[in-house]
Symmetry: C2
Subunit: 429 residues, 2 copies
C-alpha cells in the first residue's frame, strides 16, 4: 500500500481518482459480439462458446435433471448457510415493499404511486474460479419479492458443459426457472435482444468482466435498462484508535483478494493504527490462497493519515466508496457525516464479508465513485413506480383555472382546451 501523511487538500482530487480503463478496442469487440448475436441468435452463441470457453454447446437451457443432481451434490452445511443468508436478505428486501400512499393534493384530486414489477428481468452470474452463488441470492430474492413474471439467468458452463452445483442449487432455491449456459458479452446480448433459446428481457442485472460490463453499457442505447454502471470493487475503512488493527487488515485483504484491480483505502487520524494495520496485513496475507491477487491489488491501494476523523469522512465523501467500514467503537456517532457511500458497515464487528453474504443488505453496489449519484440494488431496482391521479369534477374545478393560465403561458392552447371543455360541461350540468 502507498502511504500518505496528511496530504494537502489539493492533492485529494488525485487521491480519490480511480484507475480509468477506456479501450476503443474493447468497445469494437463487444459491438461486434452484440451485432452477431442480434443477427444470428443461438448460432452466434454456439460459436462464441466454442471460441471463448472451448465448449461445444448448443443446448443452453439447464434441465431439471441437472438441477436435481446439483441439489444432491450440495452439502447440508452449505444448504443451511445459504438458508441463513436467504432469510436475512429476504427479510431486509421484503421490508422495502411500499404501501400505496394516496395523497389528496387538493380537494377532489388524489395522487399515488404504485410499484409494478418489471415483467422480464435477466440476471448474469459470472463463471470462472469463483462460483458467485451469493449474487443469485442478492438479485433473485428481490426479483421474486417484486413479482417479476419472467426471471432469466445466464451463466457460463465449464468445459464439461457443467455449471457449479452451488449456482444451480441457489437459482432453483430462489425460484429461477430459466437458467441458460451462456456467458460473457454474448449472454448480455442474448438477454437484451432475444435468441431462439434465450428470452428477451427489459432489464439486466449482475457483475461480470470488462466484456460483460461494456456489453451492459452498450445495450442501454437500445432501451434495455441495467442495474448500474460498474467498475472494480472497492473498500474504504475509516479506523480510529478504538479500532482493531487485525480486523481492519483482514477486511482490507478480503477486498484485495477480489481482483488485481480491487481498490482498498485506509484512512485514520492515528498513525499507530495505520502502522499496526500494515504489519497485520503482512502477516495475514501469507496464508491466503489468492495472495498474488491481493498483493497486486494492494499496490494500487492507499493508506492515508489525516488530521481528524472529520477529515476522514470528508475524504471518504469525495471518494464515494462502494463499501465503507467505520472501524471504531464510536461508529454510530459518525453516521451523519456520511454523504456518499454504497453500503456502510458500523463498528468493529461489522465486516464487509457480512454484507457480501448474509447480513441482509444487497451486495450489488455502486463502484467507481458512482455512489455519488446511484443507489445499490434494492427492491426498487425490480419495479417501476407508476403514478396515478384521479381528478373529480370538484378537483378540476379547483385547479382548472390554474392549468388554463399555465398552459396558455406556455403557448399550449390544446392543453388549455382539455380543461376548458370539462369546466364548461360541468357548468352546463
Amino acid at each position: 500500500m502507498k502511504t500518505y501523511n496528511n496530504p494537502q487538500r489539493k492533492e485529494w482530487t488525485n487521491l480519490v481518482q480511480r484507475v480509468s480503463i477506456k479501450s476503443e478496442e474493447l468497445t469494437k469487440v463487444v459491438q461486434s459480439i452484440i451485432q452477431n448475436v442480434k443477427a444470428n441468435g443461438d448460432k452466434a452463441l454456439t460459436e462464441y462458446a466454442n471460441q471463448f470457453d472451448n465448449v461445444g454447446i448448443s443446448d443452453f437451457l439447464v434441465t431439471r435433471i441437472e438441477i436435481e443432481e446439483a441439489n444432491k451434490s450440495i452439502s447440508q452445511e452449505l444448504k443451511e448457510a445459504i438458508d441463513i443468508a436467504y432469510k436475512n436478505i429476504y427479510t431486509f428486501h421484503k421490508a422495502q415493499k411500499e404501501e400505496e400512499n394516496k395523497i389528496e393534493t387538493s380537494e377532489g384530486i388524489t395522487c399515488w404511486r404504485k410499484s409494478s414489477p418489471i415483467e422480464k428481468v435477466g440476471l448474469y452470474i459470472p463463471g470462472g474460479s469463483a462460483p458467485l452463488f451469493s449474487t443469485i441470492l442478492m438479485l433473485g430474492i428481490p426479483s421474486k419479492i417484486a413479482g417479476c413474471e419472467e426471471i432469466s439467468m445466464c451463466t457460463p458452463s465449464d468445459k464439461n458443459k457443467e455449471v457449479h452445483p452451488a449456482i444451480l442449487y441457489t437459482a432453483d432455491l430462489v425460484g429461477i426457472t430459466k437458467i441458460y449456459k451462456v456467458g460473457g458479452a454474448q449472454a448480455i446480448a442474448a438477454m437484451a435482444y432475444g435468441t431462439e433459446s434465450v428470452n428477451r428481457v427489459y432489464k439486466i442485472f449482475g457483475p461480470g468482466n470488462q466484456y460483460v460490463t461494456k456489453a451492459k453499457e452498450l445495450i442501454q442505447q437500445d432501451g434495455i435498462a441495467i442495474d448500474m454502471p460498474a467498475g472494480p470493487s472497492e473498500l474504504l475503512i475509516i479506523a480510529d484508535e478504538s479500532s482493531k488493527p487485525s480486523f481492519v487488515a483482514a477486511d482490507l485483504l478480503s477486498q484485495a483478494e477480489h481482483g488485481t484491480d480491487s481498490q482498498v483505502i485506509l484512512l485514520s487520524d492515528n498513525s499507530e493504527v495505520i502502522d499496526q494495520v500494515l504489519v497485520e496485513i503482512e502477516i495475514q496475507i501469507e496464508s491466503l490462497p489468492r495472495k498474488e491477487i491481493a498483493l497486486k491489488a494492494l499496490q494500487n491501494s492507499k493508506s492515508i493519515l489525516l488530521n481528524t476523523i472529520d477529515e476522514c469522512f470528508e475524504f471518504s465523501n469525495e471518494y464515494a466508496p462502494e463499501h465503507l467500514i467505520i472501524a471504531s467503537e464510536n461508529a454510530n456517532n459518525y453516521l451523519n457525516k456520511i454523504k456518499n457511500a454504497g453500503s456502510v458497515f458500523i463498528g468493529n464487528y461489522s465486516c464487509e464479508a457480512a454484507g457480501d453474504y448474509a447480513s441482509g443488505t444487497n451486495h450489488t453496489l455502486p463502484t467507481n465513485g458512482f455512489a455519488k449519484n446511484y443507489s445499490g440494488v434494492s427492491l426498487d431496482s425490480f419495479v417501476k413506480k407508476i403514478t396515478f391521479q384521479e381528478v373529480t369534477k370538484k378537483g378540476i374545478q379547483n385547479i382548472g383555472k390554474a392549468i388554463e393560465i399555465m398552459a396558455e403561458t406556455e403557448g399550449l392552447i390544446a392543453h388549455k382546451n382539455a380543461v376548458s371543455i370539462r369546466l364548461k360541461d360541468i357548468n352546463n350540468d
Copy 2:
C-alpha cells in the same frame, strides 16, 4: 389518424412500434460539441451561442437584477396559478420522503437504508417557443425536498440575451440560485464536465431536442447520471361507452400539439366512440394555434378498435405509454389491469393537462416504451439510498459460520478470515 379494426394479435408488434430515429450524423455532431466544451469551457459555450442561437453572450449566470425584473413582469394571475401547482407538486413529492426503517434481520444484526441527497444536480429547461416553466416545478421542487446542496439550471436565452420571465420567476420561487443562459447539447456538456462559469453536477434532468437528448445519452458513459432516456411524448387513451368523446378528442389534441413527432393512440371496444372522437377532433383542431403541428402528429397516430376492454389494456401494456387516460366512468375497476405506464389518469375528468401542470404528480415520465423498465421522476430521482448494517458480537456469532462456509465455497478465503478472526477474538474474551 390511422384507424384499425380488430387487428390480429400478431399485428400488435408493429402497432406498438415507435418511430425510431437513429442518426450517426447526430452522434458525431454532439460528440464534437461535448469534446469542445470539455476542452475549451466557456469559450466553447460562447462560440455555440453565437453559432446556434445568434446570441453574443459571454456572461452566462443570470443576475439577481434580471430575476427581480422577471418577478415584476409576471401577472398576479400567473403567480397564483403557479402557487397552486407548486403546492400540489410539493405535497405529493414531500409524501415520498421515506423514514429510515431499521430491520433486525437476525438477532444482533440491524440493517437499514437512508436516503441521501445527490449533492449536485443540473436541470435543463428548453427555450424556444414554449417557455416550459412547469418543468422547473417538476424538477426543482423534489430536488429541494431531497436536500440537494447545489442545484444548477441551464436554459437558452433569446436573441436579446433574455430568458422568459416565467422561467426566471419559477426558478427563483423554487430556490434555484444558479441559472445559466446556456442551451442545447453544450449546456449538457457544461453541466457534465464543468466550465469556468458552469459548475459540474452528478446528475442531469430535463427535456430537450434531439441534440440535448443525445448529449444526455453520451455523457452517461462518463458516469454522470441522467433522469431517464427520452423520446417523443405520448398519450394512449382507453375509452369505453361511458367516455365523453369531446373530452377524449381534446386530450388527444393536447398531446398532438406538443410536436410533430408526438404519439397519440386511441383504443376502444366501441366503434361509435371512435367515430365520435374522430369527428370531434376534426371540429376542435380548427381553432388551435398549433394546428399544423397537431395535424402532422395525428398522421402518425392510431385509433384501434379491439374486441374487449381487457384487450385494450393488454395492448396498452405492450405499448407501455407515457400517459394513459382511462376515459370511463368505471375507470377505477380497471386499474389492476395496468402493468406498464408512466402516469395514469383515471376517469373522464382526469385530463392529461392536469398531470402536466398541477395535479401534483411529476410530468417527467418514461416515453418510447421505457415505461416497461423505468419510473418517472420522483423524489427518489434526487437521492441515492445508502444501506447501513450494524453487526454486533452476538450478530457475527449468529451468522459467522454461514459466511465462512459460503465464502469458502466461493473460493474467497480472505472473506472467510475476516469473520474467523472476529469469532476467535470473541471466544478469547
